[in-house]
Structures are given as C-alpha cells and as structure tokens.
C-alpha cells in the first residue's frame, strides 16, 4: 500500500478570489445546511434526520423536560431499540429489569414527544444503522445524526452522517440543528480490484491498519476509487461504518446508480417521477473532479488481504498469513507497551501463526456485517459443513426484515444445519449489553467493529474479521485463510 500525503492546505484558500477549486461532496452538503456561520464559532447546521436509540437518549429527553423544552421536529426523528434487546424469544418478558427500564423509557419518550418508533415487536425493528437505510430514511445529501459512534454508516449513501453524544442529542431534539466545527477532508482512494476472498471488511481493516486508530481524527473521509465504485451498498456501508475506528466521525461515498437502484421503492423514498427528479439532484452531489482534499491516501487493492485483529484496538491488525508480532518489533515505546499489554490480555505469544489461533465462539452480526449480503457470504462458506464441536456460533441479523429475507432465501436453514444459532435482530454480542456475552477468557471470531478489552464481555477476547473469515473459522475451530477454504469447496 502506498500512502500519499498532500499536506495540510489552508482551507480558506479554496474560497479565495479568482478561479475557485471544485467542491467536495462534503462541502456541497455542508454549505447547503448552514443555518448560521458566525466567525470564530462552530457552524450551526440543519439536521434532516435524527435517529434515536434507547442507550444514549433517556438523559436527553429528561433534559428537555427539565428545561421545559420540546422536540422541534418529531417528524424528522425516528427511534428504535437495538442495543439492549434480547435476541432470543421475544414473547417472554425482558429478564434484566434495568434493560427493561431503558427500553420502556424510550417507549414512553416517543409517546410523549410524538416520535415514530420501531419497537421490539415491530417488523421494521433492528440496529439503527441497518433500519435507516432499509426503510429509505437514509438518503443522499442529507445531514443525518444519531447518538452513536457508527453513524457514519449512512454516509455510504452520499449523506453526511455525524455521531453525537447525549448532550448533542438533546441539542438536536430541541433545535433540529447541530453546532459543528468544520473538519478537514481526507480522500481515501482504493484503486484496482479486490481479489476473491477479500471483502469490504478487509478493505476497511486494511485502511485502519495503514492510517492507525487516530489517523482520521479531525477529518471527514470520502472513500473513492474503483474498488468502492464496484461494491454493493452493503459493502459500502461496512466501510463507512468503521470510519470511527480510524478516528474519523464522518465517512462518505458518492451516490451513483448502485445507490439509486438500492434505494428505489424503499418505503420513505419518493416514487415515480418524484424519484427521477430527486435522483437528478443526487447525481450532483459527487465531488467535482477538480475538488481538493486536505489529505489523500491511496491504497492498491492488490495488496489487500483477509485481515484478523490480534490485539485490543482495531489498528492492531494483520493479514491472515502473518504471525503475532514481537512487541520489540514496534518502533515507539508507546506501541511496544500497548502490544505487550494486548498480547497479555489476548493470551497470545509472539510468532504464533494467526491461522493456528483456536476459537471458542463465532459472532456474525453488528451494524458492520449483519446485512443480507453478509449473511449470504457467510452461508456460502458454511453450506454443507458443520461448526467445529469446540465452537459455539451465532448469527444475529441486523434487522427483523433482514432476518425474514434470509429465511425466505433459506439461509437460516443453512446456518442451523451447520450448527449455528439463528437469532432475532439487535446489537447483541457486538457490545454485550444484553445476555449475549463472552465468558471470561473465551476467544471469539467476530464480524463486529471493536476488539477493545471486555467489549464482548468481561475478559473476553475478540478478533475482528469478515463474515467469510468468521464462517470458515467456525467450521475449522481456528482461523483459516478463506481464500484456501474457497479452493477446498
């Protein structure tokens, strides 16, 4: 991979007199949403869509009540429950009283403030970043916010999607606006063609490995290049989703025919002539050919491989062909120390081949990899094989509609026949807020986005991989290079 840095340019120069450089997609969306732009202060931007879930919203609604404020645009606000919900039988009451209270609190808040709500029994329920696009709320050109760090997922449609903390959730509820400092822009151009067995997940893991977990801090990333253009929407969402794992709050991809086709006929998308008209507008959003970015990173797809994280942050990632590094091999004291700590937590020895690492659990799910194409990819691998007797494996679809679609295609049966558990939709073991957690010291091949200590359960050990890699590991009981595995089929 080659890294080309174009240096930090002064943003103000772009707006100088004379011939102006073209605009990036970021600039176009930013400029069209300015409500107020006082010098020396953050810009006040208008928000087109606010997605709400049960974990980051209760204190925001409470804040509104305490200040005697209300929700300015309930019609632009959508809520669902995902983080806490059980993925087993939903006709039973929720066992954990505090989880139940949080879910009930959201139900009361949406009622009080008149917000559209996809509750636990709604067919449209699911992970907030899966259902926004699925229902067609997510559209090109919109500013979309959510009290969740993976909000950039929606940027895959050419939207500017921004993650918020709870205070900002309250701010948007009250004002429908967001105070935002303008980030710099970074183009990450992925050239060439992905080889078989290398997925969108590997593209983003490769990017994070290259630029680091804070390489994108302060930037809005636009992903471009042939690899991105040739990806289906699900793969584009996987890439934008993990922008935050590279430190960037915003990740986006220009909308094109693939985007429009995917959105067509979704419930919230305009129909007929209106659709044609809106598509014409969406076509104008792509960055101009002479637009300038503050940084450019170029990546050659030929050098991307299936990746596995070995440590406790997503930047500690290696190709499936590699072995665990020696902490001494890192140049900075900080990285050395962090590798030592990670290896101790992960109970791994330097020089161990990644393919020798044995696993106890497999989790296929999360807002990164729980869409229908992810399930198809995994099912294709496991079809006709049995999950290793040492491994407990589960599939948690991203939404109830994804689950139904998979069932229509018979994917559920493929997974069940192989020995996977087939669950209801939700965040599940991505963060272990519901009963789906790792036991201490269990090792998991996971398609989620964070391998932090304890993320999937106290003392649990997480390795992030693509759905294909997770599926193959479930069968073998240890990691395998999915490219060889495919050869075996």
């Amino acid at each position: 991979m080659s890294l080309k840095t174009v240096g930090n340019r002064d943003l103000s120069k772009k707006e100088g007199q004379g011939k102006m450089a073209g605009k990036t997609m970021f600039d176009k969306i930013w400029d069209s949403h300015i409500v107020d732009d006082p010098t020396g202060e953050p810009t006040l931007l208008y928000v087109d869509l606010h997605l709400v879930h049960e974990v980051t919203s209760p204190q925001a609604f409470e804040g509104l009540r305490l200040a005697n404020r209300t929700v300015r645009r309930p019609d632009l606000t959508i809520a669902t429950v995902d983080h806490n919900v059980p993925t087993t039988d939903r006709d039973k009451p929720i066992a954990d009283p505090i989880s139940k209270q949080q879910i009930d609190t959201l139900a009361q808040n949406v009622e009080e403030f008149d917000i559209t709500f996809y509750g636990v029994h709604s067919p449209e329920q699911g992970i907030v970043h899966v259902i926004g696009p699925q229902q067609g709320y997510t559209q090109p050109g919109k500013i979309i916010v959510c009290g969740d760090s993976h909000t950039a997922t929606h940027g895959a449609f050419g939207a500017m999607a921004i993650p918020l903390g709870t205070s900002q959730v309250e701010h948007v509820l009250a004002t429908q606006c967001l105070l935002q400092e303008k980030p710099k822009t970074m183009e990450i151009r992925v050239n060439g063609e992905l080889s078989k067995g290398v997925s969108a997940k590997d593209v983003i893991l490769g990017i994070i490995g290259k630029i680091g977990v804070d390489g994108g801090t302060g930037y809005a990333i636009e992903y471009t290049g042939d690899v991105i253009k040739n990806l289906p929407m699900e793969g584009r969402m996987t890439i934008c989703n993990m922008s935050i794992e590279a430190g960037a709050r915003i990740g986006m991809i220009a909308p094109d025919e693939t985007t429009f086709e995917w959105l067509k006929n979704r419930p919230q998308v305009p129909k007929g002539d209106d659709f044609e008209a809106v598509t014409k507008e969406w076509e104008l959003l792509a960055s101009d050919s002479d637009a300038e970015y503050d940084e450019i990173v170029e990546i050659d797809a030929a050098e991307l491989e299936p990746y596995i994280t070995w440590g406790t942050n997503p930047g500690q990632v290696l190709s499936v062909k590699d072995s665990i590094p020696h902490p001494e091999s890192f140049s900075s004291a900080e990285e050395k120390e962090s590798a030592e700590r990670a290896l101790e937590y992960m109970a791994l020895e330097p020089e161990t081949q990644l393919t020798e690492i044995e696993i106890d659990r497999v989790f296929i799910g999360s807002c990164t990899n729980s869409r229908i194409t992810d399930l198809r990819d995994a099912a294709e691998i496991v079809k006709g094989y049995k999950v290793s007797p040492k491994v407990t494996a589960m599939v948690v679809p991203g939404s109830t509609l994804v689950k139904w679609q998979a069932e229509k295609e018979g994917l559920d049966q493929i997974f069940i026949d192989s020995g996977f558990e087939w669950r209801e939709a939700g965040c599940s073991m991505c963060l272990g807020m519901n009963p789906d957690i790792l036991e201490p010291h269990e090792r998991c091949a996971s398609t989620s986005n964070r391998n932090f200590e304890g993320r999937q359960g106290k003392d649990g050990r997480t390795h992030l991989v693509s759905p294909q890699m997770a599926a193959a590991a479930a069968i073998e009981g240890h990691f395998v290079d999915v490219r060889d595995w495919e050869a075996k089929i």
Partner: protein, 200 residues
C-alpha cells in the same frame, strides 16, 4: 453548566494510550436512565477483580491516587463509543480535568458539553507529569484555563490548548469559562432556524 476558571488537584496517572470508552465505562453499566451514578463503575473492569473486590494494582485503588481530580493519560484518550456516560462517570468520580496528548473526537466534544476540561499537552510534558505523579502520591497540578497554563510546585510551567484548532480552542474556552449552555445559545438563533426551514 458550572463555569471553569482554574483547578488545582491531585494527579491520577494512567500511563496508557488509546484508553477507550469501553474501558472508561463498560456497556453493562450504561443502562441507567439518569446522568449521575456512573462513578462507581468508572474503569470497572480494570478496577475490580473477577470476584468484584478492588484490584489493588489499579491506580484508582491506591491511596492518594484515589482522590485525584486530574486524570493524566496519553494519546487518543476516549476513543471508541459515543457514550457520554464515559464523561459522566469521570465527573461523578470527581475528575475535573483530563490531561492527554490527544483526544478522540466524540469524547472531546462530550467533555466540553459537560464542563470536564480536556487539556492537551505534548508527549514530553505528559511524560514528566506521569513520572512525577508516579514518584509522589498526592502530586498536584494547577490548571489555569484563563491563561491556558499548567504548572506544578516543582518548576513545571507549560502552556496548553483544549483543542488543536485555535478558533475551536478560543470558542470552547469562552463557553467553559462562562458556563454557557449550547442549547440556550442556539435557541437565541431561532429566527434563523425558522428562516432556514422556510427556504428549504
């Protein structure tokens, strides 16, 4: 929000980079619907042994460090999840400021929104502070937001910023020093919001 002018307090050194919000407060403890009460779960998995007893090796369980109000750590502090609970937990425990060589963006914003001061210092000064704090329990830092200087009683005297971007630094310093509520500020622009809605 309370205004912040300056603070003198005991340092709790946390010599790690990439301290993520899952460590600051694990997901299991995010279920409360209030803003308070998160302090007991701050750094829960590092702070407690599997049987729930305090881990004597963890800094927050050591005497003098347990009363710290200034947390000092390294690069990319607060990475990961957007959970504002991380800031609430730190503040509920008693921290007034976090000193680090850089902050992850969402955490950074959340700390401004709540009045937890994020102090950015170059690595070399962080190392000095960590060394001094590790050597002497009860070591104190004085953080002066008005003059943007950090000092101690042993000759350290260095300038700091609360954001790398100078206009953001100035703006946030102003709002912190005046305890301004950003919703209140925005609602003063309500006519502009009305206007935007009319035009779009």
């Amino acid at each position: 929000m309370d205004s912040f002018n300056n603070h003198k307090g005991v340092v709790t050194p946390l010599d790690r980079s990439n301290v993520d919000t899952d460590q600051i407060i694990p997901a299991e403890y995010l279920k409360r619907v209030e803003r308070n009460g998160f302090g007991p779960f701050l750094f829960n998995d590092w702070r407690k042994l599997p049987d729930g007893k305090p881990n004597p090796d963890f800094i927050l369980n050591k005497s003098f460090y347990d009363i710290g109000t200034v947390l000092v750590s390294r690069r990319n502090f607060g990475s990961g999840s957007s959970r504002e609970h991380a800031v609430w937990a730190l503040m509920d425990h008693g921290f007034k400021a976090v000193v680090a060589s850089s902050f992850a963006e969402i955490f950074h914003k959340n700390s401004f929104e709540n009045g937890l001061l994020p102090v950015i210092l170059p690595d070399e000064h962080i190392s000095t502070i960590l060394d001094r704090a590790n050597a002497q329990p009860g070591y104190q830092l004085f953080i002066d937001l008005e003059n943007c200087e950090v000092s101690d009683d042993h000759g350290l005297h260095v300038p700091f910023v609360i954001h790398e971007d100078s206009s953001t630094h100035d703006f946030r310093r102003h709002t912190l020093m005046n305890g301004l509520d950003s919703i209140g500020l925005t609602l003063k622009q309500e006519n502009k919001i009305d206007q935007y809605e009319k035009n779009n």
